[in-house]
């Protein structure tokens, strides 16, 4: 047996990769290159040797700051590009690698250029807006003035030359022109016209009313064109207003209010001819400005596109640089300040590759001194690293979600790959639904290469990540569905005819007396004739219930056997003798025996009541079994099993802690000076390395721990076995639900001879199938399968107290990291 196990080929995923703690001593001049080569390789996890220093006290804080500044500029540029609705070109332009310093200068230039262009176009837009507003005010206010012109005695006069001799830029001073104090000698009705945001108009009017004590007339009309705000680039709805008032004081007040509300005032001449003339001029200048603005935008877009071509590459580069400096910050300077000392974990198989990368770095940076790379021994447990592929990754994730395996601990993923989808399928057995799932999984697989490159939503990402789980789940669902003979709850005669037939040709007593068996059993799965029969449920329930218990006992046994492999691997004979053996005995003498009874009952077709057998095995083991006897010698066997189970409990509870205590005292006997020695040893230990101290032995703690474990196992044996009955329950629920939807919705609707009712019935059936059976049921079966693995299976052997191997790798840098 031992030999056989020794000679088994090593399983790939069973144990995590062997890791080793390594120390790197890198000359300062080649450090940057070395770290970036290591980042490309992505197989070394650096330990932070400066954990006590705050980020800005570290050696390369300045470089990190520079990188952050550059990525800020890049973000700004990206923002500008997306605001301008330009697509940053997807095809990366081939361009010789530029140095970081050069990039920094370039970026600063680009940013400066952009800011300048923005401010210019902002100014232009400002004046454009003013002109546009002026035009709108002229049009709208002109209407008011014409309508009220007969009454209003307006004294406003405008100097024509104001508008004729200056160029458009000066029109930004329109407001000031308007604010020239009116001629004081004039009294009577005056007006101010302007434009204001629509949302503020009401409050503006109220304020004006209050300030002038109602002595004013407020007219407004919505502007036809929306104005684009130059800063936020959002369109704003505006309203043109004309306020008529009298008196100088009211005028200052109104102007102040206008200013406070951000209303722009524009003068409108009373005279219609003048108005027309100004309108003409304004329109002329507007079109001028428009062309200038367009030219500006074209220029800007061109600049942005040319930057956009490199943007992705630059962002990548800056991200990598920043990662390199962050990593360098984790290294220590040695005493001479000429070398950087780093520590890290790497898998043993990667040592050669790392060494090669380091040599390349030394060579490329033409450093005089090579990089020293040597292994160290560590007390701290190494990280856990499984080399997964795209198929096993999702399953490993399922296990990791519970807890990352300890270093070199047996990995349940190996078995989960098959057992997880299988247990799912036991609950989701319907080959119709299975085919739907399969189609979904195949779609995901067919578009794998496309989907893996693009960014997905969180839900879709989850689905895509689990596509191989989904594939296996659907395949097993089809398999289990064939066994259950369910296709949207319709039975099919796929594997030949039913074994049962009616008693006579009329078949009228088929539902009262029953059918007779006339040929060999249906070759695969459940006979379709059970469908709709009175004994369908009792038959299927008994089948599924017993099957669940068999599956459960098998899986739990597998878990216990894995604990044996763990104990062997870590060569702890204590665990084998005082934990594994009694556990196997306890579980199998009770539930292993039950499984045996089930199998015997199935083989012999006996009528024995298994509940009765199991219950009276405890209550009165010596009683005669009577008609429930399944095989000869059952009673003595039961007594022996019961005794074994009773012995197993103290066996797993008491010996281990006492033996541990003895071992501990033995170790320290005759070593009375041991403790002094250790304090000296501590001095040799390098200050920042991973060495730790001896653990204290606390008997009561160990004992309580063992007690908890034993009690948990003993109680768990019962409750976990019962917990596997969820396989039956969920499967029952699934088949009943699909029966309801099929019979009560689809068949009912089909009974009518009305196309509308049939269509409605079909639609309801389709929706119920898709959302309730395919989505909700999948989810619930998934969760239950998850629980069975996490709790019932893994608690037999899995500690899950490790931590993941996170190598420094450029590949894992994502976009949203900065």
């Amino acid at each position: 047996m031992e030999k056989f196990i020794e000679n088994l080929p090593p399983m790939d995923l069973m144990r995590s990769e062997k890791m080793t703690l390594v120390q790197l001593i890198i000359p300062a001049e080649s450090s940057h290159r070395a770290v970036s080569y290591l980042g490309e390789l992505g197989l070394l996890q650096f330990r932070d040797l400066n954990a006590d220093k705050s980020p800005f006290q570290r050696t390369f804080a300045n470089q990190v700051k520079r990188c952050a500044e550059m990525s800020r500029k890049l973000r700004f540029i990206k923002d500008q590009i997306s605001k301008a609705n330009l697509l940053s070109s997807m095809r990366p332009v081939m361009q010789p690698d530029i140095e970081l310093e050069e990039l920094e200068i370039q970026l600063a230039e680009h940013e400066h250029e952009l800011i300048e262009m923005n401010s210019n176009s902002e100014k232009l837009r400002q004046s454009y807006n003013e002109l546009l507003e002026f035009k709108i005010v002229l049009q709208k206010a002109g209407d008011f003035l014409v309508s009220s012109g007969s009454h209003a005695v307006s004294e406003r006069e405008l100097d024509e030359n104001v508008y004729s001799n200056n160029d458009y830029v000066e029109t930004s001073s329109l407001i000031e022109q308007e604010m020239r104090p009116g001629r004081p000698d004039q009294s009577g009705l005056r007006f101010i016209s302007g434009i204001i945001c629509k949302s503020k108009a009401l409050r503006f009017e109220r304020m004006l009313f209050r300030a002038t004590r109602g002595n004013m007339l407020f007219n407004q009309a919505p502007a036809d064109e929306d104005i684009v705000d130059p800063v936020s680039r959002e369109t704003v709805e505006k309203t043109v207003f004309v306020v008529f008032f009298s008196g100088e004081q009211a005028r200052t007040k109104i102007l102040k209010i206008c200013e406070a509300f951000g209303a722009n005032c524009y003068p409108v001449p009373e005279d219609i001819t003048k108005q027309r003339q100004i309108t003409r001029e304004v329109s002329l200048r507007l079109s001028d400005l428009e062309t200038t603005l367009d030219a500006g935008i074209r220029h800007r877009n061109k600049a942005l596109t040319s930057i956009g071509m490199h943007l992705v590459k630059w962002m990548n580069m800056v991200r990598r640089e920043k990662a390199v400096y962050d990593t360098l910050n984790m290294l220590n300077f040695d005493v001479t300040k000429k070398c950087l000392v780093g520590e890290g974990w790497c898998p043993i198989f990667a040592k050669a590759q790392i060494q090669a990368a380091l040599q390349r770095a030394t060579f490329d940076s033409s450093s005089q001194v090579g990089i020293i790379f040597h292994t160290m021994d560590a007390v701290e447990s190494p990280p856990t690293y499984f080399r997964t592929n795209k198929f096993t990754n999702a399953f490993q994730e399922i296990v990791d979600a519970y807890g990352v395996a300890g270093y070199q601990e047996a990995n349940p993923t190996v078995y989960t790959v098959i057992t997880f989808p299988f247990l799912f399928a036991v609950m989701f057995g319907d080959w119709g639904h299975g085919i739907c799932l399969l189609l979904g999984a195949l779609v995901l697989l067919a578009r794998e290469s496309k989907l893996s490159t693009q960014k997905l939503g969180s839900f879709m990402e989850m689905l895509f990540g689990g596509r191989y789980v989904l594939l296996l789940m659907s395949l097993f669902s089809i398999y289990c569905g064939l066994i259950y003979n369910e296709f949207f709850s319709v039975p099919y005669h796929i594997f030949g005819g039913s074994a049962y037939k009616c008693r006579d040709t009329t078949c009228k007593d088929a539902y009262t007396v029953g059918l007779v068996k006339y040929q060999d059993a249906y070759p695969f799965g459940v006979d379709p004739s059970w469908r709709g029969s009175r004994s369908e449920l009792p038959f299927l329930n008994s089948l599924k219930m017993k099957m669940s218990i068999l599956l459960g006992v098998v899986q739990m046994n597998l878990g216990i056997i894995l604990s044996y492999f763990n104990a062997r691997f870590f060569s702890s004979s204590l665990d084998i003798r005082y934990q594994f053996v009694p556990q196997v005995i306890f579980l199998n003498s009770l539930f292993g025996y039950l499984s045996l009874l089930i199998i015997i009952k199935w083989c012999t077709g006996s009528q024995a009541d298994l509940y009765h057998v199991m219950i009276y095995m405890f209550l009165s083991p010596t009683d005669n079994l009577g008609e429930n006897q399944l095989f000869w010698g059952q009673r003595p066997l039961q007594i022996i099993l019961l005794l074994l189970a009773l012995i197993a409990v103290p066996w797993m509870l008491f010996p281990k802690p006492f033996i541990l205590k003895r071992l501990h005292t033995e170790r320290f006997q005759g070593r009375a000076y041991g403790i002094l020695g250790t304090s000296e040893m501590d001095l040799d230990v390098e200050p920042d390395s991973a060495r730790q101290h001896h653990e204290e032995f606390n008997f009561s703690e160990v004992f309580v721990h063992q007690m908890i474990h034993s009690i948990e196992f003993v109680l768990g044996a019962v409750s976990n076995t019962a917990s596997y009955l969820r396989l039956w329950a969920l499967s029952l629920a699934h088949s009943e639900l699909s029966t309801v939807f099929y019979e009560k919705v689809l068949l009912l609707a089909w009974g009518y001879d009305n196309i509308v009712i049939r269509l409605v019935g079909l639609a309801v059936f389709a929706f119920a199938t898709a959302f309730i059976l395919l989505m909700m049921e999948t989810l619930s079966a998934f969760l239950h399968a998850l629980r069975l693995h996490w709790v019932e299976f893994q608690n037999k052997f899995y500690h899950g107290d490790g931590y993941k191997f996170r190598p420094f790798s450029f590949a894992s840098l994502t976009e949203d990291e900065d």
Binding site: A68, R203, R210, A260
Partner: protein, 351 residues
Amino acid sequence: MYGFEALTFNVDGGYLEAIVRGHRAGLLTASDYNNLCQCENLDDIKMHLSATEYGPYLQNEPSPLHTTTIVEKCTLKLVDEYKHMLCQATEPLSTFLEYITYGHMIDNVVLIVTGTLHERDVHELLEKCHPLGMFDSIATLAVAQNMRELYRLVLVDTPLAPYFSECITSEDLDDMNIEIMRNTLYKAYLEDFYRFCQKLGGATAEIMSDLLSFEADRRAVNITINSIGTELTRDDRRKLYSNFGLLYPYGHEELAVCEDIDQVRGVMEKYPPYQSIFAKMSYGESQMLDKAFYEEEVKRLCLAFEQQFHYAVFFAYMRLREQEIRNLMWISECVAQNQKSRVHDSVVFIF
């Protein structure tokens, strides 16, 4: 209502209480302050803050940083959080949250009015206003010439309107008047807030009355100290004290007649909670009083988080954040002006 908050509080307030407690966990700790105090320049401060909750707000700031930018962005974060909470809040919590901002509103009104009095540009003044105390027509304040106009034109629309009933005069605005107006408004505001909290009842009333009493007493002391040597009469001074708090009413009578700082001290030392504050200072000194009061306030605010199912945590959180922003401003100023020895003068550690 008292004693049954646990039954019903979470129906409406549970989510927001969780939010505010989560925000509180993001307040800078003593080790953060220690690190910040070691910074060499403002970029270091930015770098350190980028590891805290302020990170997203500062990350897009171009590098030659100014103290004002840091403070502005940190305030922006507070305002964003406040607005989020206000959006989610239902009555009476939303009213409670609005009450918190009225103090800033009063300060803003006073700022604008004083500014216009001294012929400052309104837009420049608006930028200096605290964003929590902004209201729609705040820019129009510049139009008003006297209190009556101020009230009739602008403030009648704001929640401050009822507080104005005591200070409507037709007098022209001057510095003294404005200061009196500020204190009258504050008095009315605190009393109103106090009444509101009493109406809410339960733990909210209990804790808020403690916090507001402290606030009222502190204002009373400050008014007294600031009015020593001015033409403010005793009766006028007495009128500015809020009508609740530990000092009310007998302490107020005594404070009203104080002529110098040592007399104030004599009055305050009769009240055990304030004894420790004044015990820290030597005689005749009043500079450190502000810090001592702030420290005491922070202590009380932190205690508000010890109890559950009440609204005072929102008040406490806002105040603590404001204190934190004041700390950051002080540290940044000290770092920017190379006065690092003075960093600890005014920083109040929260945890």
